[in-house]
Symmetry: D2
Subunit: 343 residues, 4 copies
């Protein structure tokens, strides 16, 4: 059994990680930390975990964490980077669900996240944990930067087109919509039920921190910088991301459906729907699947890709478990076979 | 492997049964019928089941069903009773998720359901599938009447009090609230999102078909007729039942918390919360748990019990699987260890 | 034109008061205060009021408030009582939408609200602003205690029965359900969309501050203490209260429908539905109406009353405007003729 | 008083028209027809209208309708065109809220709506009722084709850019999101609460009937055909449309904010927000306002316009009343001063 620790397990990413790890056949949860909730039983804070997880939140404790085989950070940005070097040195593998290791350039990271980076040397070692792109590198990684939720949905949608070179990489538009859990479990007025339900709005259209992450990932594919307009929106629902992607086709003869099906034929967690489909976020609610559909309206020059994930699973905790499975040589889908809850 | 068939799998009870059985370690789904959707792939109608269930809906076919070890009916009321005698004769065990076998008195059934009963002799043979009351009888049953959703939540809440004789059985009030999935997957104006969301209302206060079912169950416990006022309400959410139960205490010295904890100490699917708790429906979303709390406001003469279940799981498909497990000598919780999705 | 001021207009009660007063034919909004938002334009905080209200939030300022004809307090409990004596002395009429003047007994107030009262002598002068009970007293009041949301819905439902003496006043149960806006516009985790949507739960069953307020109001009607069990619940919707009321009939010959229709025949804001009806909260969304229905299930000993209001209108800002209309001799329904938004 | 009739008032457009006309100072509602609900009181079907509208639904009756000054059609597509010639001949003005007169080319209409047109000669006479474009023509029109909901939000967003000639008319993308009421009050499985809530999806990406309507409107502005990709999505909320519009700038020196502010400076129902704003659908819930914001992310070549309306008001019934006001020489905003309900 792999001994796993979680740092900062009181947010939505944390409780989802707990749900998945509690049911994972090869994992033993050995420690979960939280400064604010120390002494609280997990099942008291998250009643869905009553009778399933007996752990109590403890204060962060280096000795306990060093005793783990793997440590997940489900902390705010800027926290993991302070402890990761110590853990790596102790031989512990680390998966960071925050953004501390997602960007490779120190300057870019510091600009977008507004603080100095505590261990810039690790930025290049960290492997970006998108298995559909970096599977082999993940297998041998000590440190995995788990991708953001929007970046996961958007990159999986653009990848086949960019890899095949059939779109203009300067024409990318990602109109993305997220459930409110993407904003985290924070006491903020803007995400109260009375503010966010029965309502729809865009936010951060001028700039969103996931923009450089997506651009970096797509640029690695094309080999040259891409231009991306990224407009995120808040949907009055709990879970789910729906990315609607637009790009200008440069090769109008390509069979888009075949391109997508072939690219993802052997992927356990990417499901290409039949032509003319419209994936729904609820079809992945609670599951690690990404479902995709590709359209070419009016047979015009613009390709439209629809991509859905559960932001807390394939967009966070599920992908983290998928990465752990790869890092420890387990079956990639171990503990990830939950079927989406519908309705 | 147990060969299971489902008749009428296109409703919410059906898709939930499919989700649970697809992941059940001891079951092989062999046939699923639907007149309306014959020829449709299961994964086409319910995209959460893509890549997990390869079956195609077929027309009801006696030969295919007779070849099963167990057949679940997830059909409208009045359908199962037409086929059950034939299946029992063929040695197939049957679990009816509709109401055809829930009442023992033919006259009462015909009055509440407005049609003649096709096999009244089976009404007395059928075992009412509430394991917390009838576990041993279910083990040896050929035919199980799976309880209704409200009756499950309400009976589990009143049982400890009635069994202990500490409340006046003429004073029962069940103010119950259900998510909209309880109304089924039917094209009806009243359950459209635009009619039922951002709204709350009672319905069927003069009379609801679950009233005689609950009264029958509680009367079996007390040995004499109970008086119950039952007021159901529609909650703008998908899944979940919350029953708020009121009764007049006849023994004011009873330790209510201890009474509930002892009654359910060994039950795998009933969880009594600590004193002063308020169970939430989301704490059981997608799981087979019932969570209960008991209160005595102002230390007065009225006891208040709060009882939550997922109407599609413990209130329907999950309880059906629990009954199947008992009928076939499997681990009672096999295939039912899914943790509730929260948030 | 009546010059009106609002103290503390940044909550949901405040914005609703602004919406109603901005359209009131006889009112001129002259000042609105908020420490936290001073300098912010009203339309910036509440974009629905753009182009309709040009005011800017200012710091509380006694001189400005004294210059008003009426001041509304939409502040947290314990704030109004500090300024009310000064305003009354200056000849300003005051309507407090918080709880500072709702209880008549100082000791009881201090026990439930956990602080000393700043002007206990005004507790007896303050008129409880439920026009259906206290219309004449309100007309001549200097200080009106605007009722709580639950107390409004519950008292209007019980009143006809208690006034007629046809129920046992020791048998009252109020199972009440509120939309989340009842909890206010506060940054708290429990009312985040991700915590409160797709969920249902009871809360404060052991004790809720509206309990003594309701008991006080009902006791004034009966002349002797009533016993009330009050169980509030949180509904995943924005606005609306639905109270389901139970009581034991002492006179089984009473015509309940006629009793309710006669009691409220001339009330502009209480609408008794036909027999067998189930009022919906959305039928009063944004309006000052209370809609009621009365049932006697199975013709038994228990009467069931269903009562709905919009907690922010008849349960707060609308009732405050209704009280202002009475206090200033205006048409009671002035500015309150908005039709509920449905769907 | 203007005598108004409504044909087909049982849908969401109908009830919203009733709500607005019941409060309109210059209108007397004289007849409302519905085959299915004939004999039903309006307040029985729509309880928000109890005590406000005493009418009873009657069967369509030419004599009654001919006696009106104006008749609104809130009927399914293909209905109005059968009666309009008769009414116009009788001197009655007509406003069609369906699509019968929205396209000018008979062939195009018949292709998209799949039936022959009953009075193609009227297609060119009908005035497209978007006051911000056609105000003068509407004033003198006998027959107004009330725009679709998506077309209203999208055209108002693109108009300033196309009129000023600062974008490439071949580069238009409209990623639009609608609340579920846009689908109407129809008994269909896809818009049940359990199907559409806590979910997000695109639909009709290959082709939607509003596409030719939007193209026609924008082409009239530019004078040459535009290319538009239109991707509609379903949002789990009741009311509201949010259109996110993308286009390639051809003039990178234009002051976009000033352009929008000047274009709509004197429009009573178009509100341009300050720079960096994100309009919310709830800020127009129940009101006739359209709120717009314009962005240029990363100062790049793509302009992003955010446009919100209430699909049932500015996108249907409110715009119809605005058109009526113009046709009868009333104040354009008469009966349309309701403030959006927030929260």
């Amino acid at each position: 059994m792999i001994k796993a620790g979680i740092v900062g397990g009181t947010g939505y990413t944390g409780v989802e990680l707990l749900r998945l790890l509690a049911a994972h056949p090869d994992v033993e949860l050995s420690v979960i930390t939280s400064r604010g909730e120390k002494g609280t039983k997990v099942g008291e804070l998250f009643p869905n975990l009553r009778r399933r997880i007996d752990l109590v939140f403890v204060e962060p404790d280096d000795a306990l964490l060093k005793d783990c085989d793997v440590v997940f950070f489900a902390t705010p940005n800027g926290t993991a980077m302070k402890s990761v070097p110590m853990l790596l040195e102790a031989g512990v593998k680390v998966i960071d669900l925050a953004a501390d290791f997602r960007l490779q350039l120190t300057g870019e990271w510091e600009q977008w996240y507004g603080m100095p980076h505590a261990c810039p040397d690790l930025l290049t070692e960290a492997v970006y944990g998108l298995p559909e792109v970096n599977r082999e590198a993940i297998r041998s990684a000590r440190l995995v930067a788990n991708p953001g939720c929007y970046p996961t949905a958007i990159q999986l949608g653009f990848l086949p087109l960019l890899e095949a070179g059939v779109i203009d990489p300067q024409s990318l538009i990602a109109d993305a919509k997220s459930g409110v859990s993407g904003a985290g479990r924070k006491a903020e007025v803007g995400i109260l039920l009375c503010e966010a339900s029965d309502n729809f709005k865009a936010y951060n259209v001028p700039a969103h921190r996931h923009l450089p992450e997506i651009r970096q990932g797509l640029t690695l594919v094309t080999g040259s910088p891409v231009t991306l307009v990224f407009a995120p929106h808040l949907v009055p629902m709990i879970r789910g991301i729906h990315a609607t992607l637009y790009a200008t086709l440069t090769d109008s003869s390509v069979d888009l459906q075949a391109l997508f099906e072939q690219r993802y034929a052997s992927e356990p967690f990417v499901d290409v729907l039949p032509p003319k489909s419209h994936p729904e976020t609820r079809s992945v609610r609670g599951s690690n699947q990404c479902r995709l559909a590709v359209h070419r309206p009016q047979n015009g020059k613009t390709v439209v890709v629809l991509s859905v994930i559960d932001n807390l699973v394939k967009g966070a905790a599920g992908q983290a478990v998928q990465n752990m499975n790869l890092m420890f040589g387990l079956l990639e889908s171990a503990g990830l076979d939950g079927i989406a809850l519908l309705p």
